[in-house]
Every structure is written in structure tokens, then in C-alpha cells.
Assembly symmetry: C2
Homo-oligomer: 386 residues x 2
């Protein structure tokens, strides 16, 4: 990672071939600081989800303390974080048996990697694996707080049975974990607050039920970017997880979790054609650069495949990317407006704000990180694969 | 690329951590052969589009003759193909000025890289660039045959003006190029045939108009995977381009361009959870492995985020992936059916057929290529970035 001082700053931007992923470093840092302060003000720990930024170069900003907690979505992330010295990891996808050998190797190196489960089958193969391999793996039981995906409701009979299975075996039951994934469909502060309160209450209920059965449950982990910005009481919650908050995106702006101006990642693209008859600007960013994510499709404001800003970050209110192919995008004027083609000549650069930062970032091997304050430029490499 | 003989074949499959992209090599080769034979039977050349497979390891099958024509969607592809000795390339995305220096360097090495344009602005900066750099760049004018994206209609006054601008400058006007992108919305042989005929006729009309103005137009290039399988007369067409045909996918099956059994690429995933109450199988393949492409959403048969097969390729008729997050997918039974959870225990492997092979393949660094006939296994690496 080489930091090039001004005047390389501007020439780098212009010399980079489009499309590329631009990170506004100051916005990125502000987003990190905002949530960390908020969560820590409740006396609770933040466990950032690495899945969004997925770059070792981002770690000095995301999590400077290597003993601090972090969440991952793949074993590969866990392995690379471990190689950087990070030692407190949750692999937050339901565990399957064939991923255990790689995790055992990490645990053998002294890395605390906790796994997630919500079934007796998983509890059984985990116990069996630990016994056969003479190792201890810590596990969290996934709690379903809103019907989003996996997990058990606090009143599920399986909850206590799984806790007992683990408790009797060589698996250490560390606690419970919930993710209020349905909060992505909240669009006002009242529903967000309700989703946040529900996530807290449901997860605490589950922890309480386990403890009532005489089994310890130290960790009570919750989080999603929308709820993480909407808590008002975290008593009993030991940690909050969130990922998309580092970059933010149009889906998050749609939930009210950020302003559009907080979005720290955008795709820089070049206008490669005009279709004056149909009112289209053709750009060299298609789904290969933007992703095909349509996360705002069901929000009150549908942003197509992304909104448009100028290089200085100024939103071009009436434009959006309405269609994408592999390496082509089409920008159209919305709400009865028309495009002033002279203002967007062939060759000019625009930025496209992503619907979903995790998805857009995943399409890129590198982030081009510009610090407008320090006038510096870095390249951050992204982790790929599983 | 190491070819491991049987019995490594089966153990490789089982040892690979999910999710991964599985290529059925025999189906891949059959798909390549089928279209090549069909196009060549018309006395016309096939110019495969590299954008789908994007792997140098695939070249011995896709295009064994290095002097034969190939299409690319990025300058990076052109550079890597050139480094492998391929010398007859079309960069089939409207050209912008800042991509010219890299193309000039390729042309200087004796690689014929043709660029695409549809505006006088592009003709002017291309002419200026060639003059300043004392080089010759060959260009094709993009023809719009169905309102899909870029290009000029044959009756556009700009067509002749651009041809004249190029003809007078140091840019060599090589011909015209069209892509019947709207044929992706055809769902029966009659509409496909109509789209194919229209692509042929429109492009020939444009070539004829240019020739009538006293300017040569040698190359008449057309193609899209659906139309490429539906021509009945290619007189006057010098080449056909197609990309997705190598893997095929559910969108192409929906157009009738292939059978579901022809699909050569699938994502191998593990069942990581059961939600018996909601009727969900949770799998470890989300949009990160499958892509968020919803290309079948507007087809008569909407396949969600993909259809499900067993490891042996057998389609599980009533199942589809109905929801994806980053590393999670949810499989649901459709049409009033219910899931037999005992048939899909936690830990079992399934294959997900992609909506759009280009998009799904783009999510992977490697393809795991299994030849069921030769009982061999290869890893093919994919080109990434721009």
C-alpha cells in the first residue's frame, strides 16, 4: 500500500481506466467512527463484519486492535485475518461438516473461531468432529428474530436440546447470535426502532431460556446495519455486528440509516455513447462493475441499478442507471426530466452510487482509495473466493 | 492446468469446499461444437465472445487456432489474449478516449484489435489519436437492429458521416457490427427466427448504405446467443459472435436456444440448514456464488435465483433458489409442492443452475472442470478486472 502525496492525487484519478471502484476515505472513516462511538456509548462492543470491505488494507481503520472481535462470512476471510494476527472471529454462516478441518487448523493455531448452528444435526456432527479430532470448537446458536433466514425462535424446543447436546460434548456453547435481516425492509425511524428493539428482546429471551436450563450463555451477539444505528438500550447484549455501514449504500439510505452523502464507495465510469432519441447516456459500467443487485426495487425510492453523481460527489438528482449488461450501463432521466447531453459529453466521467455496497464491492479486485483531505491515493486489494 | 486421472476425479469433487463453480467439460465441448458446426455450415466464421468463459485455460477448446477471430468485452481480455498469441480481436464495447493508449500498444505489437463506435465524437477523437500517435486503428460502426443498447439504425444520417470521417482519417473503417440483444426476450422459435432475420437484414442494409457512399465495408459482424442458433441464411454476413453458448444457462433455456440439460456450468453448494416450518432448505451459496442476476424474472418460467439439480445432474423439478444473501441461499418448493427434508439432509450437496452463465461465472476466480468421460479434473483460472 503506497500513499502517494499530492499532486499524484488528481493525476491518478484521471489516469485510471474506467470502470473502477472509488472509495472516499474520509467518508469511510467517518462511517466507521460513527457506529463505533454509538455502540460503545452503550457499553457494548462492536464486532465489524468483514464481508463488506474484505480487504486486509482496510483493517487499520476497521479494526486496529487485533485482539478485538470481528465477523466473517467465509473460511477464507478467517484464514487471512488469522494470518494478520486477528484472533477473535465469528464465522457467521451456519456450519457444515466439510468446513470443519480448515477451522480446526485455525483453532489449533490459537485463533478463537466460533461457528454458528441451529440444528441438532449440526450439534451432533460438531460434537463428533471435536471428539475425533480431540479439539474444542466454540459455537453460537443462531436465533431467528424476524423470520429472515436461519435460526431458532426462543420458544423452540430445539434450542434447549441443542444447548444440552453441546454442553455434554466437547463443543463449548458460547452464546447466541441473531441478525435482524428483515430490518432492510424498514423505511422509517419507528419501524427501525421496532426492529432493533425486537432483535434485542428476542435474543435476550433466547439467552435467558438457555441459562434457565442451567447452561451458561456468555455471548449475546446481535446486529444488522439498520438496527445497529437504531438501538436505545443494549443491556445484556455483549456485542453488535454490522458490515455495510463502512461504505453505506442506497439501500441503507432508503432505510434512513445514512444520508446519500455518507456513501463512501462509488463506481467511476465513462460516458461512451449518447442515444438522444431514446434519452440514454451509455456508460462503460455494467453489472460487471456495479453488480446486478436491485436492493432498492422494493423501497419507496427505487434507484434502478444506481444513482449518478459528478466527480465532486454532487448528486445528479434526476438521473439513474436503468439498465445494465455485462460492460454497458444505460443512464436515463427519471420523473419526466430529460438529459442535457451537452452536460455529459462522450468521454466525461460520472460516479455511480451502489444499491448494495457488499455486492458492488464484490465485483472488484481493488479499491482505489482517495483521501481528499490528505490528498493521498491508495490501492486496497480485496480478498476473493472461499 | 494439471489433469488428474481417475480415481482422483471423485475425491476431488468431495474434497472441494463449497460453494464452487462446476463445469461439465463434455457439455461445454458439445455446446462449442454445436454452434461452430452450425455457423460454419453457412460458410461463415464464428467469432466467440470471450466475456463468458474468460479463462485462458478454456482457449484450447473455445478457439484452438490463434489466428481465428475472437471478441472481448474489456481491454484486459485483449491484452491477455494477445499475450497468448491471439491476434484477431474485436473490443465490442463503444470506445472511449482513455482506453486508446493500451489498444495502441497492442496494435504496435501486430495484434489486430478493432474498436467499436457509433458517434461522430468517437470518430473525431479516434482520428485525432491516430494522427498524433502515427498509428492506424481499425474500427467498426455499431448498428442498432432492435433498440437494445447502442448503435445507429441503417437510415441514420450519422452512419455515412461517420464512415466518411473515418475514411478521410487514418482510421480504417473495417465494417459494421450488430448485436440483437432484444432476442433475449424471445421465447419461441418464430420470434427467435424473426429476431435473427432482422439482425441479418438490418446489418446488411447498413453495410450496403456505406458501400453505396463509395466506402468499403468488408466486415459484417452479427450475433447474440439466441439469434446465433436461429439463422437460416447468412449470405453477406462475414462472422457471427456469441458468448453465453459455451456454458448456456436458464435464460437461454427459456429462449429455447438450449435444453436445461445442455447447461455446462453449475454452482455446487451444501445444505446448511432446514427450516421445516417455512419449508426452506438453507444453502451456502448466496449471491456471492450465484450472482444476483434475475434474468428469468420476465420469462414465462421464472427460475428465481436458479434451479436445483442433484450431483448427477438430475433436475429436482419443484425446487428453486427463491432468495439470496451474500453467503446464504434459500431453496423453496414451488407450485404447491413441499420439500422432503429427509431427501436433502444437512451436509448434502446440490448443484444450482445459473440464470445467466456470464454473471455467475464472473463471481468465481476458478472453475472446477470435470470430464465425466475421461474421468479427469482440471482447475481453470478466470481473468478478472479491466
Amino acid at each position: 500500500m503506497s500513499t502517494q502525496p499530492y499532486p499524484a492525487f488528481f493525476s491518478c484519478y484521471n489516469q485510471l481506466d474506467t470502470p473502477f471502484l472509488f472509495v472516499d476515505k474520509q467518508k469511510f472513516i467517518n462511517n466507521l467512527t460513527r457506529l463505533r462511538h454509538s455502540v460503545e456509548s452503550f457499553g457494548t462492543e462492536l464486532r465489524p463484519h468483514f464481508k463488506t470491505v474484505k480487504s486486509l488494507h482496510a483493517l487499520p481503520y476497521l479494526l486496529p486492535d487485533k485482539t478485538a472481535p470481528i465477523t466473517v462470512s467465509t473460511v477464507k476471510e478467517a484464514e487471512l485475518l488469522a494470518s494478520e494476527g486477528y484472533s477473535n472471529i465469528i464465522y457467521a454462516v451456519g456450519i457444515c461438516e466439510n468446513k470443519l478441518p480448515r477451522l480446526r487448523d485455525l483453532i489449533g493455531r490459537g485463533i478463537a473461531v466460533r461457528v454458528l448452528l441451529d440444528s441438532k444435526e449440526q450439534a451432533r456432527f460438531l460434537t463428533r468432529f471435536c471428539l475425533l479430532n480431540q479439539c474444542t470448537i466454540s459455537a453460537l446458536i443462531e436465533i431467528d428474530c424476524d423470520g429472515h433466514r436461519g435460526g431458532l425462535t426462543p420458544d423452540s424446543p430445539d434450542l434447549i436440546e441443542i444447548a444440552q447436546l453441546l454442553h455434554q460434548g466437547t463443543v463449548e456453547l458460547e452464546g447466541v447470535l441473531a441478525h435482524a435481516g428483515e430490518s432492510y425492509h424498514c423505511y422509517d425511524p419507528v419501524s427501525l426502532r421496532r426492529a432493533a428493539d425486537n432483535e434485542v428482546r428476542t435474543t435476550l429471551d433466547a439467552a435467558q431460556r438457555i441459562r434457565s436450563a442451567g447452561i451458561s450463555c456468555n455471548m449475546v451477539s446481535i446486529g444488522s446495519t439498520p438496527t445497529a444505528h437504531s438501538y436505545h438500550n443494549l443491556n445484556g447484549i455483549t456485542e453488535v455486528r454490522a458490515g455495510a455501514y463502512c461504505f453505506f449504500d442506497l439501500v441503507m439510505a432508503g432505510t434512513g440509516s445514512c444520508k446519500i452523502d455518507d456513501i463512501a464507495a462509488s463506481i467511476v465510469t465513462t460516458v461512451i455513447g449518447h442515444n438522444t432519441e431514446r434519452g440514454w447516456l451509455l456508460i462503460d459500467a455494467g453489472w460487471m462493475a456495479l453488480s446486478a443487485d436491485r436492493g432498492t426495487a422494493h423501497q419507496p425510492k427505487d434507484c434502478g441499478f444506481g444513482l449518478v453523481t459528478l466527480s465532486n460527489g454532487e448528486l445528479v438528482e434526476h438521473l439513474q442507471v436503468t439498465s445494465v449488461n455485462q460492460e454497458h450501463g444505460i443512464i436515463t432521466a427519471m420523473n419526466g426530466c430529460s438529459i442535457n447531453f451537452d452536460a455529459f459529453p462522450i468521454g466525461c466521467r460520472l460516479h455511480i452510487l451502489p444499491n448494495h455496497a457488499c455486492a458492488t464491492a464484490s465485483m472488484h479486485q481493488h479499491y482505489h482509495v482517495f483521501d481528499t483531505q490528505a490528498q493521498s491515493y491508495d490501492i486496497w486489494t480485496r480478498i476473493q473466493g472461499w
